[in-house]
Amino acid sequence: MKNPVLSKELRATARRPRLVLGLFVFNTVLAFMVVAVFRLNFYISASEVSYSNVIRFFSWIEIAEFLLLAFIVPSLMAGSIAGEREKQTLDILLTTPMSTLTIIVGKLLASTGTILLFIFSSIPIMSVVFLIGGVGLFDIVLIVVYACVFAIYIGSIGIFFSSIFRRTIFATITTYGACVFTCVLPYVAYWIGYWIYLSGDDGLSDGFQVPGWLILLGLFSPVDSLVSMLSYQIAGNTWYRQICLLNINADSFWQSVNTGEWMCVSMLLQMLVAAVLILASAKILEPVKAGKKHWKIEEKNV
């Protein structure tokens, strides 16, 4: 399937000095984080290698990468449609036979492609863990899949706001807001519930249980997906399992759920939400909606 917008965007983006600068900054920051985390994990003795430290080290790199992507993706996507409006190129695109869905998908895929470029460019840095061992190719593939889902999910939120707002600045602010809201809402809700429980109880936390709906809400949070992924990758690590909504003070039913399967369901649901947002954005962008209003008036006149 050929998408003219995708080809055009990839070509134009590749020529932007901003991309090269972004890649440089991204990898430099990541490299510093890797060195810092490496020093923290292996500072006692270089001759002794603890494999649990290696995988923990790797998980820190994943978190660092997630934080950088969370910062980059909204800014990339929020201007995609609003920017076309500001540059006064959108009207021209809308007068062509290309559907609004093709325009939206082209924009989203182009940005996802840029994100993949960031991910692939960071593989040499992530490969530091291969020097020590303990991390397999599957773990790298899992990160790439997660990054793609994250880029499409947050990207679709960005595109949605970009279709609504005429100004890039408003679209960017709301996208960042929605991104933070989506990522941390279940955790904030959990901590508020926990705090209310503690303030009304004797102070013992053992009796507090996370309601099921809050755990299900976690399926829409990329942070919960990340924590599930880390918990799945580092089976022996109890810390990630403890902060995963499935396991913090949940009843035995939720605790029995496999975090790997939970992560898959979470990513699938996020892709579903992304699909809905993409379709909604395409609908919003349509300049003339199948002549509904016009028809009504014509019928009245008759």
Binding site: Q88, I92, L94, T95, P97, W295
Partner: protein, 307 residues
């Protein structure tokens, strides 16, 4: 070819179009003139499928585009008054991008793009980046883009707006060449004289209503009919005034030395009979005829009447 009938559009309480109607025949260049805010851009945006109308119909080549908004995209080439271009793309890449939008790829796309760039005299710029082109060159590039898929009608909103005299001349030449090869066009401007040189038919719109439409000669004749008859009386001024006062069709008489201005509501035949009568009274007249408007005063006269 193009039939716009009773087109209506409101923005909230503001009536942008109040029953605009006009017809454009095949191969015709229709000049759409009106002051700023008259409804030109709204009409054109509706024709390009960018705005929904609140009433009326627009038929292009037999297709009602308000009922079939997707079909309009194959029929109309739209050039907005203000538009941007993509940075980091060369002229040839910009054209090939739009060719691919219309399903034209590879060698065929390259050939077609070069042909159309040649039509607008931009072929030598095909390796330049679009963001460094002058405004006139960008306008011509946009025109070349519209021509890529041979639309039934080109809708151009103020194509000469903001251009320097040379670019304006070049744009006019390109439009003339397109008209010579039979391209149907709707061109808007708020300057009548700009269009009068190139358009076959002109429509004047004011406050969302089509005030007058037809060939420039027809419009001139129609409006000139309401102008006073100006005559230069060499001898017999008093006799002439006395004679004119007796005529029913004469509404006003004023003089300025030998010149007499007569407000007269009769037809062309009545004008001739009036002259015959004056000569029969022994009045010597060296000049006789309706005062003529120039294009700008014509435009002002038409739009002022509506106010």
């Amino acid at each position: 070819m193009v039939d716009v009938v009773d087109l209506k559009k409101n923005y909230g309480n503001f009536v942008a179009l109040n029953g605009v109607s006009f017809h454009i025949s095949e191969g015709e260049m229709y000049g759409f003139v009106g002051p700023n805010g008259a409804g030109k851009t709204t009409t054109m945006k509706i024709m390009a499928g960018l705005l929904a109308a609140d009433g009326g119909s627009v038929e292009i080549d037999g297709v009602d585009i308000l009922r079939h908004p997707k079909k309009v995209k194959q029929l109309v080439g739209y050039m907005p008054d203000f538009f941007g271009v993509y940075d980091n793309l060369k002229v040839s890449e910009y054209m090939e991008f739009f060719a691919s939008v219309y399903g034209i790829y590879g060698k065929e796309a390259r050939k077609r793009c070069q042909e159309k760039l040649d039509v607008v005299h931009m072929l030598e710029k095909e390796d330049s980046f679009v963001d460094v082109l002058s405004r006139g060159q960008k306008q011509r590039l946009c025109l070349a883009r519209c021509l890529l898929y041979q639309p039934k009608i080109l809708v151009m909103d103020e194509p000469a707006f903001g251009l320097d005299p040379r670019a304006r001349y070049e744009m006019k030449e390109v439009l003339r060449e397109l008209m010579d090869v039979g391209v149907t066009m709707l061109v808007s401007s708020h300057i009548l004289s700009e269009l009068s040189e190139i358009c076959t038919t002109v429509g004047i719109i004011e406050a969302g209503k089509m005030v007058v439409s037809g060939t420039l000669d027809e419009i001139m004749t129609k409006v000139n009919q309401s102008n006073p008859i100006v005559m230069e009386v060499v001898d017999g001024l008093e006799k002439a005034i006395a004679f004119l006062k007796e005529k029913e069709d004469v509404e006003t008489i004023s003089t300025n030395e030998q010149k007499v201005y007569v407000g007269f509501r009769g037809s062309q035949k009545d004008e001739a009979l009036l002259l015959q009568g004056l000569l029969g009274q022994g009045v010597l007249i060296s000049q006789y005829g309706r005062a003529e408007n120039n294009l700008e005063s014509l435009f002002m006269q038409i739009t002022e009447k509506e106010e």
